[in-house]
């Protein structure tokens, strides 16, 4: 649809309307944006204040002094460092596993003409919207039966399997845009399917994988429910349930909790700002083609 508009340049058509936005509307958008940022900017400021300053002077006061103590305390004493490490130990293998398997799925669903290709694809699409609660009890039980409840493996396996639906969906649509002739000429040269997959299809999927990986990283890293259900040992908790746990212990010290929260967000924020274009690309898959 969009291709026609882009390929034929015409003098009259411009991608964006020429008339500017009404100043009042623009002002509302600006005020809205600033209001939207208040909780975030406020949190960052709060994290540099001392507990006494914050409680006695309130949120809107000018900080008496700025301190890094909350961060130092959160990192060492509260064990945020340990939780953060756990999050990476869980997220990275799950991410790699999920993308490897999903790219295999995507390749098979696009490359081969077989009756089950469409039904399998729709099974994955349907799985995208499944309520997590529908899986909670059997998955909890399954990890117990496999003896992996309360280990990193429980979360690694579950995330790998559950995220297959979305990942296959994204990569399969990405694969669809690759001309089939590329594979056929490789076929004629005598290459086997796995060679074609590894040498041609996988490298071609890399831009799609970049979008997918930024999004999946954020999702797996930020998961709360499954971490809550599958890992109860404090030493193994990822950052999300770790933080929730700390909230219980340090109920009153908000600046400390906020410092911990900001540390918790740093990896996803880095991924987001470094790969913003891919992140947005990933989010909009499914809503529009391409």
């Amino acid at each position: 649809m969009s291709a026609t508009a882009q390929e034929i340049p015409s003098v009259t058509s411009s991608r964006k309307p020429r008339k500017g936005v009404h100043p009042v509307i623009l002002a509302v958008v600006w005020i809205g944006a600033l209001v939207w940022l208040i909780p975030i900017v406020g949190s960052v400021l709060t994290s540099f204040r001392s507990f006494e300053d914050f409680t006695s002077n309130g949120f809107w006061s000018i900080p008496e002094s700025l301190t890094l103590n909350n961060y130092i305390k959160a990192w060492g004493q509260m064990g945020i460092d340990k939780y953060l490490l756990n999050s990476f130990i869980i997220t990275i293998p799950a991410l790699i596993g999920c993308i490897m398997l999903a790219s295999m799925c995507a390749y098979a669903l696009v490359r081969f003409q077989f009756k089950l290709a469409k039904p399998l694809y729709f099974m994955f699409v349907g799985g995208l919207l499944l309520p997590f609660q529908m899986l909670l009890l059997p998955v909890f039980r399954l990890t117990n039966d496999l003896g992996i409840h309360n280990t990193y493996w429980a979360l690694i396996f579950f995330h790998t399997a559950f995220q297959l639906a979305f990942s296959t969906f994204v990569l399969r649509n990405f694969m669809k845009t690759v001309p089939a002739s590329l594979f056929e000429s490789a076929m004629i040269d005598g290459a086997g399917e796995w060679t074609i997959f590894l040498r041609i299809a996988f490298p071609l999927m890399l831009p799609g994988i970049a979008s997918l990986a930024t999004l999946e990283f954020t999702w797996i890293f930020n998961d709360y429910l499954w971490a809550l259900v599958l890992v109860t040992d404090n030493a193994l908790k990822p950052i999300t349930t770790g933080l929730a746990n700390l909230r219980g212990q340090f109920t009153t010290d908000y600046p400390l909790i906020v410092a911990g929260s900001i540390i918790a967000c740093t990896p996803t924020l880095i991924v987001f700002f470094a790969l913003q274009r891919y992140f947005i690309g990933g989010l909009t898959v499914g809503a529009t083609k391409g």
Partner: protein, 306 residues
């Protein structure tokens, strides 16, 4: 007749080779998906008809008893009402705000990148962090951002407002925080959708004198219909999935006033009322199915359009 057997063998051989190839790619992912997603889905359907208490041992089949009990119990009724409120707010407020923002930011606006980031930054934060920030930083009665701001106008009376502690306010406060996260998401979806709107068609309409609201109402909005379908489905599904926010901010309290199905299901699981918890999950699933159907239909339509 003489030649065909060789060909059939070849064809069979080729079909078998293709089957092997397909199998080698799909076996592992499908096995994983079946064990961790497909089987659990059906297992939960079965468990909802039992009185399983989470312990190993015989599981008793009790028919629809869980569901009968469910509809008479107050926490469930409150949860379902709250889920409906959540859905209504989600398909109206963030959707229209996100669409409006997308319309504005799709034009030539200075600092549009900053504005976009401001609106979708909340989406990048973990829900756990967003929930902590809102529960403690924004809604906290004494030092929270909201009450200390209101105090500038209302004086000390503002400090009495219990955003999360008042049963009449709690659910609205939680939904408010969730809306804060959702607006940017909808905006991104519509911005992507607007890129596919045919600029030439719009230009032609403008030549015919269509402008402002008319142009939007009769040209742009209808062209965005597929995006709107997806946005509505995603909003509903996100509403039904709302767990993190509720669990962290209020745990469904006070007195289940801010409970939702996803959280109520989790609390029942914590209480070892597994069969009962499964039946709540099935209710959630049943509501989701309607929207999964709409979503699938939209995806299928795009599929045929290729």
């Amino acid at each position: 007749m003489v030649q065909t057997p060789i060909r059939t063998v070849n064809r069979q051989q080729r079909a078998f080779n293709q089957f092997l190839a397909i199998f080698s790619f799909l076996a592992v992912p499908l096995l994983l998906y079946t064990v961790w997603v497909i089987y659990p889905t059906f297992r939960t359907l079965y468990l909802s008809l039992t009185d399983w208490d989470g312990l190993p041992g015989p599981i008793n089949f009790v028919g629809l008893e869980n569901f009968q009990r469910l509809i008479t119990e107050e926490p469930f009724q409150k949860s379902i009402v709250n889920n409906i409120l959540w859905i209504i707010v989600f398909i109206t407020v963030p959707t229209s705000l996100g669409l409006g923002l997308a319309m504005v930011l799709n034009t030539e606006v200075k600092f549009d990148r900053f504005l976009k980031v401001a609106y979708y930054l909340p989406l990048v934060l973990a829900t756990v962090v967003a929930a902590l920030v809102w529960a403690r930083g924004v809604y906290s009665p004494r030092e929270g951002l909201l009450n200390s701001f209101l105090a500038l106008f209302m004086g000390d009376a503002a400090y009495k407002i219990q955003w999360l502690g008042d049963p009449n306010l709690a659910i609205w406060s939680v939904i408010g925080a969730a809306v804060w996260r959702q607006v940017g998401y909808v905006m991104i979806l519509y911005l992507a959708g607007l890129k596919t709107v045919d600029a030439e068609v719009l230009e032609a309409a403008k030549m015919d004198g269509a402008e402002g609201w008319t142009l939007f109402r009769y040209m742009v909005f209808p062209m965005l219909a597929p995006v709107t379908t997806i946005v509505v489905v995603i909003s509903v599904i996100d509403s039904l999935r709302s767990f993190d926010m509720v669990n962290i901010m209020t745990r469904g309290g006070p007195f289940d006033s801010s409970n939702v199905l996803a959280n109520y299901m989790y609390l029942s699981f914590e209480d070892y009322r597994m069969g009962y918890a499964a039946s709540i999950a099935v209710v959630l699933f049943a509501i989701s199915l309607v929207f999964i159907f709409f979503y699938l239909r939209e995806v299928m339509r795009q599929e045929e359009g290729q």
